[in-house]
Amino acid sequence: MDKLKLLIADDSEDNRLVLRAICRKLEGFEIRDAVDGLEAIEITQTWQPHIILMDIMMPKMDGFEASKIIKEQYPDVVIIAVTAVIDSRVEDNMSLIGVDIYIHKPVDRELIRYKLQSIAASLRVTLGKKNILSTKIALNPFNSDIRSFKTIFDILNAESMMDFGMWLFDQYNGKSIVASNKFDRAVEVFYMLMSQGNKNGETMSIIIEESYEEFYITMKFDRVITLEQKVSEMLKEFGTEFILQENIVCVRLSKPQEIKVIAKEIPKYIEKILLTTTKVESTCQSIQEEIQESVKEVKEIRVIQSNERELLHQSFVNKTSAADYVSELGGDVLEEILDLTSIDEEWEGTLGAIEKNPTEENFVYFADSVLNVYVRAINNLFEFTALAYALTSLSVFMKESAKVVSEDSEKIKMLIMLLEHLGKDLTSWREHIFILQDTADIHYVDSSFFSSCMQIEAIIDDKHVDADDENDMEFF
């Protein structure tokens, strides 16, 4: 069969080179590149690749859109999405348009080769099958009443010869075989035939047709075949079970029978089954124990609500610099914010008190008298909704978990450490915005601060933060 066409669509030249280098080592592929989704579509229309390695994030048109259009026009093309580590929403969408195979970045060379080889093998069988099945007649000269499926091996190299051998052994291995069956000799005969064909540079394929009782193994050559003496002698052993016709050699073999258990051996089988059952039971028990063990380790998830997500990812079309912002601010409000300097001391002092005396009351005091004072001042600024929300949420969390945390010395230590850092972050925020007025964007810290508060709550609460896989690392 001709080479399979592989298209690599990626906007990064480095990535294309890496993928090309990986694929070049594979035999039987012709490779072309596309630099974006649009070009991938154009090349697909003119060149019709069998497989596309499609990067998802590309300029002009991304990999998702391009795949959608390509799949509509060419449903048979196999698209492999090359993408960041697991994003279930993207994968669900890709699945809807018929893309189910992934290569995750950073790429694993061996895995890519394995996937491509498996897909190629499957494609070759399908494409070969299509060609042959379209004739709608049996290829073997023995029996035209065959079942509708065929197994086809394109004999390209030693590996495909082995695949055929393996397939045949698989059919007979461990099953009851009638004494006259010559399947092992058939493996040898076909091996000799393949060697003969290889020597003569022929392209060969083996097509296996089946009736309910028999296999018909046909080897097809490009040209009329003249058997070598040795092969001819071996085939004679098959008597009427083999036919040579121009460019085909066909052997028919009885299929293996299901093993029939002889009556006196039944007790032995029952014993064996009972032994297996006990083994399965004990395995089940140990699996269950393992699951229980791992469940203990699984943390709960701190789900990010949709309003929180909005605040986290809020974007401001026009960036306001600190200098512009402060110049517009009323004197009273600015004074209130500048007054917060005194609360820095209160923040540190209260944390010091909690360290010495970690009572529930001290935690509640921190929430009410430190955090909430901050919230009131920030609320007057209108602009900093995310900051105010973050501190309010932290305050509520402190009160709710005061009892539990106050009884856990490890958590007290951790919470105090994190709150000290958070306090310094707030001080630095006030300095950059209201005193130094040196930031080009007054919202530079809002989301990050909010995210830190969320993270602190999750750490103290022994939870994972999760936003529908949004926080997976996305590799480029």
């Binding site: 990064s12 300029p59 990812h313 972050d425 630095s428 995210s451 993270q455 933060v465 926080n471």
Partner: protein, 128 residues
């Protein structure tokens, strides 16, 4: 030998939470952890050659220098061009990610981050 991981973020709380997430890798000697609050300090140290790293984690929105500008400056330097640099930010817009990709950053992780996912990604990048 321990891999040197540097984080640059103007928030002390973010650095502290990242350090807690990586605690096990730090304690086991798999990585050594260094942090910078000011990207200009890091850039200066890298340019003078007094600092080096195996993996750099950078925030985007920092008052002194945007993390993507920092990445661009670092990636222009042959000494650091091929070293992994990941962005850890609350920013999740595709435009910014695309810009990061163009600059040559290795990966993008959105805050708040999951400890496990950060550790898993670091191990994968550092091959440890």
């Amino acid at each position: 030998m321990a891999k040197r991981v540097i984080i640059v973020d103007d928030s002390r709380a973010v650095i502290a939470t990242a350090e807690l997430a990586l605690e096990e890798m730090i304690n086991s000697g798999t990585i050594e952890f260094k942090s910078y609050l000011n990207p200009m300090d890091l850039l200066g140290a890298l340019q003078s050659g007094s600092e080096n790293y195996d993996l750099l984690i950078s925030d985007v929105n920092m008052p002194q220098l945007n993390g993507l500008d920092l990445a661009r400056a670092i990636k222009a330097d042959d000494r650091y061009k091929n070293k992994p640099l990941i962005i850890l930010t609350t920013e999740s817009s595709n435009d910014l990610k695309m810009l990061g990709k163009e600059i040559g950053v290795t990966g993008w992780m959105v805050k708040p981050f999951s400890d496990d996912k950060l550790v898993k990604s670091l191990k994968m990048i550092l091959g440890v």
